[in-house]
Amino acid sequence: MTSVPLIFERSRRGRRAADLPACDVPEVAVEEVLPEEYRRKDPPRLPEVSEPDLIRHYTALSRRNHGVDIGFYPLGSCTMKYNPKRNERAARLPGFAHIHPYQPPETVPGALELMAALQEGLAAVTGMDAVSLQPAAGAQGEWTGLMMIRAYHRARGERRTTVIIPDSAHGTNPASAAMAGFRVVTVPSDDRGGVDLAALEKVLGEDTAALMMTNPNTLGLFEEQIAAIAERVHMSGALLYYDGANANAILGKTRPGDMGFDAVHLNLHKTFSTPHGGGGPGAGPVGVKSFLEPFLPSPVVRREGGRVILDDDRPQSIGKVHTFYGNFGVLVRAYAYLRAMGADGLQQVAEDAVLNANYLMRRLAPHFDVPYDRICKHEFVLSGARQRRAGVRTLDVAKRLLDFGFHPPTVYFPLIVEEALMIEPTETESLETLDAFAEAMIRIVEEAEAEPETVRSAPHTTPVSRLDETRAARSPVLRWIPGEAAEDPDDEEAPAAANRGGTE
């Protein structure tokens, strides 16, 4: 397989893909508007290519990608469902696509109406009283929710410094709690995969600000004791935060608000079918019960006298958490999805997602260890412990799946399961796809017995073979430097440590 040169390496001086018209406004000399220290001394080293070069370069790269439009993508807890193209059409309507965030609000009533209506829809789905659409991702939604919880306790004159998080939680939960200034306390799972109630009671106290939970949790299991947990948490004066990453499992069936949660975020790019996987943009709206409403990020989008307004007069607000009003294009796509599905459609999403996951789990259960053998919700977790003893690790199984044209599931998470494989098929996959995936997995298990080297050295059919993930992490080369050869793998001078911060 040939390697693709960088766009910079295709550059030839003077080649152009664009032909700009003559400037039709008076030119302003850069010296007049920029002080000397902000002016660059040399022109930027931008690649100079023709349009065919440009198109072929990026088309070639895109053909090496895997996405939901290409094939099955059962990445657990990521809900890689198909994104209906009608969402894209809605987001491209000129009235949505061509507005400017600095336009006076009274010139964009349609956009504001969409935001208000989406907030109402998400409040109905989650059982909350008010919603902010500002957070740009799930983790930012968590952080926003926790900042509101912190402001709430402070407003009551209470000092609560810890957040309790189950050991099965998404890694973002403890990270968000720490970023919001809390100390994280972990609570273990019991042998059915739920929160250990006795252990929870031991750590709940006057210093507890909140318990963060995902329900169903990352094992794909519904928290059976949620009512008792909510009661204990509220008795101690703490609040309950719902990580909505797994909301696909409960749409139209139950609601965080009904389970006793006080604040919740939803990942529109998961549950509401907006694209993700390429790094964004996403959206992580936060919903709260009415007593937390004064703390919502400002401006609050709300109805007043038959119109929708941007309300900045929020003295108790935690402030703005996103420039302007959030990732608006994502909100349009999510609203289109919400309205197209309707209440019945959303219920069927949850039913089909759960059915698909249970079907796949039962097909694979004879071939892997099943750490928690219960009916699952939208995803399930297998253990590759049996294969590991035979010398084939979960990482090898994941790499071998690429040869069959499937994106691997999430691996080595949740942390409490040895050699974990976390599989979320979503509702948008057909029986044929599920069967083809199951057959590939079963064949890999057989290979692990009969010809383990085939699995250990996979993938064999992809554009590049097994990557050296360790070296990529220890010595990442993140920058193209003019005049430097692209590769000199053993060059100790590679800007490894210095560039590390830039990867995060």
Partner: protein, 128 residues
């Protein structure tokens, strides 16, 4: 099987302690490094920081996962293994030697009694 040197003390969270007078040299065990896989980044406190037994003092990141490091004893950090910044692989290659992480001046050496000896730790590992 992973190595468990006789002369060290061990925590349930897979840290080891070598006692040198009032000083405790701390790292992670051979079992821990082998479970984590190739380690790519180690985040440690600065010298002078206070650590508390049972609480986190840093993180260790491998290709697979990121894990917290838990202080087996309380006290003040007096030395930090700066070499791990450029060469985190030392934790994999030599967990009980060049892969050491911090030295703590213990504030309460009685905390050592809470730790396991080599036999206890070996049993802990086979049970988990």
């Amino acid at each position: 099987m992973s190595q468990v040197p006789k002369e060290l003390k061990y925590s349930e969270e897979h840290e080891w302690v070598r006692v040198e007078g009032n000083r405790a040299v701390i790292g992670i065990t051979d079992f821990a490094q082998s479970e984590l896989g190739d380690i790519v980044f180690v985040e440690l406190p600065s010298a002078g920081a206070e650590v508390k037994a049972g609480e986190t003092f840093g993180t260790v990141e491998s290709v697979k996962t990121v894990s917290d490091l838990y202080a087996p004893v309380s006290g003040k950090v007096v030395e930090v293994n700066g070499d791990l910044g450029d060469a985190p692989e030392k934790v994999n290659e030599d967990p009980y030697g060049a892969g050491w992480m911090i030295v703590v001046e213990m504030s309460d050496s009685k905390e050592l009694d809470q730790l396991m000896d080599a036999n206890g730790y070996s049993a802990h590992v086979s049970a988990s």
